[in-house]
């Protein structure tokens, strides 16, 4: 197992290098002079040619591209993602400041969504084509179809403006978290519950389940001990696709509810072309994805004892 983990980590390195090159290139892919752009982003409406040249030299933009990339990567490896052109503060500080809020929102929403996805997915699978299954399907369709920013605004209107039960925006207390978590959880569970239902139904049609039923095993045992466990691998893979929100945040939710997370910060940085921030997010997202995939692969071995990661062999 340790060899497998080591091998996977080594395999990730070329991916990260490729992504880093892409992130570095962003500055040069956009039209215009990067140095002039940096000065304008900093609030100088009309930088003079001397200012542009000084900026170019100060930031090392006068050096050949490979040298610039090498210097940039050295800094990244030391944890220095540069300075935000807009705020003037270190990028890593800006991200770390906002990360806890995003993590809270994501973990709460994701946990609730996962629990209810399983509940709804299992119930819909058990009562397939019955009234309950139809109700779950309608619920999922609504959750998928309704844009989460609109849902958020409707919740604000209902619970804050009309009922005065909850605050309309903000961060800091449990009351502030209810509406954004509810909004995001609904949109996550809408998709996940349908997938769980489909995965379980696929297992319920297998021969071993028919055998189990013929043997007289109780329904609960068949579902939870046999069908669900075998369905977990694709379910966990599907669930892992949402983990990138841990880094990227949930932009719409954060903007609508004034939740001070990384998502809205990232999107704002894209809009105003704050490249150091955008580069940092691109890199961190790539690393997060890689680590998530590795973790999911290792989880397979825990769920299914038939899967073993031994040196030279994957069974």
């Amino acid at each position: 197992m340790q060899y497998y983990v080591f091998k996977r980590i080594i395999q990730v390195i070329p991916t990260i290098i490729g992504v880093s090159f892409l992130a570095f290139s962003l500055l040069y892919l956009f039209p215009g002079d990067p140095a002039e752009f940096i000065l304008k982003s900093g609030g100088i409406e009309q930088p003079t040619p001397e200012m542009i040249e000084n900026c170019r030299i100060m930031l090392g933009l006068d050096k050949p591209l490979p040298i610039q990339y090498f210097n940039w990567m050295l800094k990244i490896l030391r944890g220095d993602f540069g300075t935000s052109w807009v705020s003037g503060e270190p990028v890593i500080n800006e991200i770390l400041y906002r990360f806890p809020a995003s993590a809270e929102l994501f973990l709460a929403s994701f946990s609730i969504a996962v629990i209810f996805s399983f509940v709804l997915g299992i119930i819909a699978a058990i009562y397939r084509d019955r009234y309950v299954d139809h109700a779950c399907r309608i619920w999922s369709l609504l959750g998928i179809s309704i844009p989460n920013f609109w849902l958020g605004l409707m919740f604000i209107w209902l619970f804050a403006v009309y009922l005065h039960w909850l605050p309309s925006f903000g961060y800091g207390t449990l009351n502030h978290a209810v509406l954004p978590v509810l909004t995001w959880a609904i949109s996550i569970m809408a998709v996940k519950s349908r997938f769980i239902r489909a995965s379980i139904l696929e297992e319920l049609n297998q021969a071993y389940i028919i055998t189990a039923k013929a043997k007289g095993l109780p329904g609960r045992l068949i579902i939870f001990r046999h069908a669900l466990r075998n369905a977990l691998i694709p379910i966990i893979t599907f669930m892992s696709l949402s983990v990138h929100h841990l880094i990227m945040g949930a932009v719409m939710i954060e903007v609508v509810f004034a939740w001070p997370g990384v998502g809205s910060f990232f999107v704002e940085s894209v809009f105003i072309r704050d490249f150091p921030v955008v580069q940092a997010f691109v890199l961190l997202s790539a690393v997060t994805f890689a680590l998530t995939n590795l973790t999911v692969d290792l989880c397979y071995a825990l769920i299914d004892p038939r899967i073993k990661y031994e040196r030279g062999i994957k069974r």
Partner: protein, 525 residues
Amino acid sequence: MQKEGGTEMMTRRKVAIIAICLVLLSSMMAGCIEQKPQEHASIATQEDQVLTIGYAGDLKLSGDPSKISRSIPKFAVLERLLEYDVEKDEFVPSLAESWDIKDGGKTIVFHLKRGIKFSDGTTMDASAVKFTYDLLHIKNPDLAPESSEIIDDYTIAFHFSEGSILNLARLQDVHGLGVMSPNSVDPPGDINGTLNTLIGTGPFKVVEYKKDQYGVFEPNPYWYERMGLTPKLKKLVVKTIPDEDTRVMALRSGDVDVLIDEYHGGYDYTPRNQLNGLVKDGFKVYTKKLPFTWELILNYRKEPFSDIRLRKAVAYAVNRDEIVNIFGGWVRPADTGIFPPEAPGIKRANIKYEYNPEKARAILRELGKEGMTVDMIVDKSQGDQILVAQLLQQQLKDIGINLNLEVLERGAYREKRNSGDYDMMIYYFGGSERCFYMRIFWRFLPPDKPYKYMKPEVVKAAQGIVKEFDKSKREQKFIELYRAFYDTMGVVPLYHEVVVVAANPKVEGILFEHSEPRFYAVSIK
């Protein structure tokens, strides 16, 4: 068995029908409920006068001191040496009691008022002024003197490379800084230092700040003593709410007491088309005129609008009353010039931008351009501009021009605008009163940029304005500028903006000075 199955089906159907009816009924009831302003616990009690303001952006009270937000920090914490009054076209003293213009405007010597204290009790003097402008010179040289020289504790000389009225304008521009204490930064007095706590001489002082969330301010006792006033508010809290609809709902729910606009380029406004609804529901909406006009910019540097006849055709097609209507009457039609009527020289210029679609059609027929297609870039993040662009699309279609709207995200819009890659766009001239002169510099004066309006007649008039220190002569130059714009017709004025403050009716005492709302006299019923 069938009968039982049939009964069960009937029962389910009845339950479904009842459920649907209940949902419809509750929706109807919700629609009928009036949205009255709430007499809510979030409004301050008599014992605790706390005003909560909803604002779109972060206050930026950390990091680079030159980047602090243009809102409360700049106009409620800091004060400037002077201010600008657009209706009188005069610079008036503020922290300076007077100034001497020397060497054709290249040197300006300021005499500071004595006895003014910063909110931390330290004295506002020439060294604090020098600190502020030396810092600004590094961060944003357009808005600061080339150098400054302390003559004595209350006298400071600023030196500029050229003599110009802009030298006064830049010292109070909204993009610049008011006078701040050297103790505001860490290490104290270091012009390369980072902002610790913003300390100014204005009516409020910073008490607490959380990035992207809120800022808390308290009355500055030294300011109130100087003005002979008594503060009624205990605290002013400014909360960051990025989404415009959430901001309005926060006001309606009572989570905030007041909404203010961001004063720059149309971003982060209170939606104009929701103001009538707020008034109807009992909220107060205050407005103040400002010298800020939205213009339709026709790219005269390339085809098809290199032809002045075509530009005139477009100008005749614009119905400004329809534009005003889409904003519920809250803005003013701009048919007398590129600036509002209160700007210097507008009334005397006696210009009229005529709405005459027949003339527009005649010109297009004569040019053989009926049915032509042109592109307009629109900034997606400015909801108001999308509405105006859609209306213009209709109006131009009426005269035979197909307008293709390219709605772009903010960064892409700016790239196209700055590179001149557009046929038409909506852009603004002027700004808050503070910005008025510097915008002339940034829009009409060299160096030439694709997004600037640099017709020689306009540039000549603009240069005449900024070189002239005599007010009456300057007004004549303004008239020449307005006529140059009218004659070249590369710009079609659309409407004049207003500053909007929406407030709970329990809030009293909101004032406006220099296009900015002031809260120093506010109390809560």
